[in-house]
Structures are given as structure tokens and as C-alpha cells.
């Protein structure tokens, strides 16, 4: 069976080739990925990132933007590797909501 993300070769619209601006949070997600996967740390591999993105359900995969999928996968890998705990993450996320900093 074809995985939902494996959509190469399917009929699709025209490819958008225009450059576009990235929001600051998107740049931060990119920086997080680079820092975590740096050879001196190796807290995350790009292959692990991809596996976790591909494990998203079809509905979530389609709803999330590119960097939302990255963020989801980074969090998953850090939990799987024991770098952060779910409790720590939950508390930090609650702080962010209180600051209106979501």
C-alpha cells in the first residue's frame, strides 16, 4: 500500500517556483533542526525526522504546513531519544500560552 506522503508520480498541479519569505518561527524551526543534527551533537538525524513526518495521519499531514510537520517531528524525536520528557514539554507549552507567545 502507498503511504500517504509518498505522492511522487501522482497527478498534481503546476509547481510553484517563486521564492517566498519565511516567518521567524519557521526560521527558528530550521535553526533547531540544524543545531540538533549537527555532527557535534547528533541528537536527531534527518532520517528520523522524515520517519516521524511520514508517520503523521493523512488528515494531519495535509493540514500541517511544511515547518509545522518539521516541528512535530523534532518534538517526537526528542521524546523518543529521551532528550526531553512529555511533562517538560507540556509545562513549557503552557507557559507559552500564558505569555500569548504561541
Amino acid at each position: 500500500m502507498r503511504s500517504h506522503h509518498d505522492l511522487g508520480g501522482l497527478p498534481a498541479g503546476r509547481v510553484e517556483r517563486d521564492e517566498h519569505e519565511y516567518a521567524q518561527w519557521e526560521q527558528r524551526v530550521d535553526a533547531l533542526m540544524m543545531l540538533l543534527s549537527h555532527k557535534d551533537r547528533q541528537l536527531l538525524r534527518v532520517d528520523e525526522l522524515r520517519r516521524n513526518i511520514e508517520a503523521l495521519g493523512a488528515e494531519a499531514y495535509d493540514r500541517m504546513s511544511y515547518y509545522e510537520r518539521w516541528m512535530h517531528a523534532i518534538v517526537q524525536v526528542l521524546i523518543q531519544r529521551g532528550v526531553i520528557t512529555i511533562d517538560e514539554l507540556g509545562r513549557k507549552m503552557a507557559e507559552g500560552v500564558q505569555d500569548g507567545n504561541r
Binding site: 500500500m1 502507498r2 503511504s3 509518498d6 511522487g8 508520480g9 501522482l10 538525524r45 532520517d47 528520523e48 522524515r50 520517519r51 511520514e54 523518543q80 531519544r81
Partner: protein, 101 residues
């Protein structure tokens, strides 16, 4: 990648190969649309740790030879209506390839 921890290449440029029609779960770098299809080895790209294993934070060693395989677009999509000479090149790991007749 040292040769000591790499699997020896089984194919050479020009060899006809078939992509295994396998559908295991996990992180696969072999696109669904080329599985079961026949192409020709265009070149050996080197040997690399197996991403299917790296995806689970394992070593991926011994390294797998990686090939660039050329397919006729019409062999991938039976209703392909563009130029009949069009080709698609896909990089595929050796463990996904078998000799084609």
C-alpha cells in the same frame, strides 16, 4: 565510507534491474511508483548507511551501494502521453534491486 563496512556492489552501469515490489512499513527511500518496474543502471553513486535503519537511530551499516537507475517514463506510467523518449532517474539502494531478464 570505508570499504570494510560496505556491501560489495552487485550491479554495473548498463545492467537491467527490477525494483522489488515490496511494501513494508517504515521509512523507505524507494518511491512507490517505481516498485516492480524495470530500469537500467546509469551509475553507481557510492555506498551509504541505510536510511531505513538510520530512521530508527541505528547505524545503517554495513553501507548499501546506491545506484542511479534510469526508467522510461512510459514504463512507469502506462498512459504517459508526452515524449516517448522521456526518462526518469531515481536513486535506489542495492537491497531494493534484483537482476532483470
Amino acid at each position: 565510507m570505508g570499504t570494510a563496512d560496505a556491501i560489495a556492489p552487485r550491479f554495473r552501469a548498463g545492467d537491467r534491474v527490477r525494483v522489488r515490489a515490496a511494501y513494508p512499513p517504515g521509512h523507505l527511500r524507494t518511491p512507490h511508483y517505481c516498485r516492480g518496474r524495470v530500469g537500467v543502471v546509469e551509475r553507481l553513486c557510492g555506498a551509504f548507511a541505510n536510511p531505513e535503519e538510520l530512521a530508527y537511530n541505528r547505524s545503517g551499516l554495513p553501507a548499501q551501494p546506491l545506484y542511479r537507475v534510469r526508467f522510461r517514463a512510459a514504463d512507469l506510467w502506462s498512459d504517459y502521453a508526452e515524449n516517448g523518449e522521456d526518462v526518469v532517474e531515481i536513486e535506489i539502494y542495492q537491497h531494493w534491486l534484483e537482476q532483470a531478464a
